[in-house]
Amino acid sequence: MKTLILKTASDILLPVLLLFSVFILLRGHYLPGGGFVGGLIAAIAFVLDAFANGLENSRKIIKIHPGFLMPLGLLISFASAVTPVFFQDLPFMTGLWASGHIPVIGKIGSALFFDTGVYFVVVGVSLTIIFTISENA
């Protein structure tokens, strides 16, 4: 499916979609969005790229095997969940919040890191599944 139109479009679409996915992730606490949707959009961006430019190319863009994003994400989520236990002597999963306010994101807190972890896991899982299947199926 290597058509010129798709190829040209995906060159622009990949960064835009990725940016969009991060945007969706960050605003999730206040408006529709979040780690799940963000992750899926990012995965779609890469899959689109793989269709346009070939699997090898998108593998090169990601650099590492998408499978490694899964433990990474899980680790981020888990770390944000246990941080209160270790550093503040609060129960598991207590939300911690930094003071201050940032546009779009709003307040930065452990929930955001948790969602970021979810984002990475979802990207990792979707891409692992799709890439593995398109290689071997």
């Binding site: 780690g35 949707v37 899926l40 969940a81 598991f92 939300g95 299947i133 398109s134 071997n136």
Partner: protein, 768 residues
Amino acid sequence: MLFIVCLGFLLSIAILFIHKFIKGNWAWLSTLIPLTSFLYFLSFIGDIAQNDVIKVSYSWISSYSVDLSFMLDGLSLLFVLMISGIGTLVFWYTSSYLKGHEYLDRFYAYLGIFMAAMLGLVLSDNLITMFIFWELTSISSFFLIGFNNESKSSRKSALLALGITGVGGLFLLAAAVILGQVTSTYTISEMLSMSNEIAMSSSYTFIVVMIFLAAFTKSAQFPFHFWLPGAMKAPTPVSTYLHSATMVKAGIYLILRFSPILGETSLWNTTLITIGAITMLYSAIQMLFRTDLKAILAYSTICALGILTFLTGLGTYEALVAAMVFIVVHALYKASLFLITGIIDHETGTRDITKLSGLKQGLMPIAVAGFVAALISGGVIPTLGFVGKDLIYESTLHFKNNAWLLTGIAIATNVLLFYGGFLVGVKPFLGKKPEALPHLHMPSIRLWLPPMLMVLLGLVLGFMPYLLGDSLIMPGAEVLSRGESGLHLKLWHGFNTMFWLSTLTIAFGVIVYLVLKPSDKLLRFSEKFEFISPKSITQYLVSLFKIMSKYWTMLFQNGYLRHYVATYVTFIIVLVGYLLLKDPVLKIDYNTLADLTVYEIVIIIIMFLSTLFTVFTPSRLAAVAAMGIIGFAFCLLYLFYSAPDLAMTQFSVDTLTVILFVLVLYRLPKYLKFSKNYLRVEHGILSTIFGGMITFLILKVISEPKNSEISNFYAENSYVLAKGKNVVNVILVDFRGSDTLIEITVLIVAAIGVFGLLKLRLKARDKK
């Protein structure tokens, strides 16, 4: 303290990254882990000797009052020092014993987990936390016993041990929950002051029985003892560490810990004394029939555990002191005997006592260590064993009733223990060396130093028992006996009754040692009675259970997926349908329903048609396309009904699913028509009834008023507590974050599954 407890877990995680390093010549470096813990806990001796109790607490799941609270008092200090101290020696020993083993890294990882779990278990001040650590020790010991996983008997023993001790853990949980209800706390130290209330409560008997079952399964008391000899299939360091010195003592620890809370009732004392006495005599006699060094040690361990249960059952101050001293004595000599057995096995390749003799040629230092260990085990003056045995006799003699009967049992057991110790520690080294054995030379220092250190400690503490007594035993006994104190450990009490009883024991022991010769004949003789042993009875019950489940399976699990599904569906239809038909009138208030709009109706019609199309189309591609349409229709529905998050997610997932199908579709098998027509009609009717029932169910639900208590809680607190305004997202990442955490784990498992299924090469068997 949390960090020190978790060191073992950290090690096992770190092994992932340093496994090459740990497998090579640097294996001994792992010794640093238990050594650090040992030194850390050693620094508390001063405080504990002053009868201080150190408590540390970390919140974990406070809402269920489950916290990581640790308590270090005399009793737990005794145990942690034993665990980390013997752990140090065992880690060190292993580095040479399993040198170059393919899975040495795994071994250390399991051992690390085990040590951490054990430390957590004896330090926990919270019953639920204790239960978790308790089960962790069972699980890690499962991996350790089954370490030689290629041998069938090893796997079987591991499973048996896991089954027995794991079930025991569930009993502990039951006891914990009921205790928690009675005292409305899970903190052990808080329960201390409530022992009267517990004794008064109606569930007292239940709690005690549950605690007993937990302790007896873990500590291999009759009739649950049979997993322990099987556990000897593990490599020797494991037997040393888990099945003599530490894990099996967890049960003893449990009853010791609970004796001030639950004790001093006739149920408590009589049961413990009886079970302890039976265990000790039974296993002591079993020991006579064994020829495998490790089997002898296994039975003598069960015997020692029996003595400990027995002493705890006596429950007097003297008996508790005796129990604690005996724990140390037993750990010292049993661990060293095991390690020596390991050396013998390592050097000669056999553990059969009838084939071993004359090993002192070439292994002289080890022979000396074995001799001393046997002396400690036999309770010969001037070792710590003597002090221990002295105390045992003292406590039986001073017991209020049946003193002489109890003393008699104790003497008989000790005679046989003496015999067992000499059989393992002395006999292999004496006499003439058979031709069959290879030429022997001293093994690496890493092998012989640990047993040497332990027997040395046994000797030194024998001369100076107050070193141990004042620092560990007295504070420990103080915790258990609620304030009674004043006994000081001494080696020499003069020529009193206890001394003469001790001498008598040794004399009889020597006679038994000289008269009885272990042989295969005895072993075979004992096997004739195997069929009435608890082990055989259990196995018989298990086989009955298997036969029953086989018939059950043949009846319900016939291997046809369709039958299962049809059975479920029919069952649900009957069950739910019965309830629905009891009150079949629908009272829907049409005013509360949403209005019909044209575009919604159009979407529903599209969905309906696509569903029908999916079911009846003969083409796979058409079916997939129709499903895509259903997905996007869902997307629109969610959008209409105020669920933008869902709409976005459904849209993305649908896109990915379609891609997935496109990728796989052409490699999937073609649609084939298998089912017979009458079956199709039958299934069609079944499905239609099921669908109709679901519709009716929903209508029924809609006609009832909605309870929005939980939703309102989330909505009210979303911003106030979690600082988020998108309530759906706040629920996902904050209120119910733990669920999400598990969910992404499930996702990862699915991805790994896909990856594994596709990347795994077909094995030769499958290719056929």
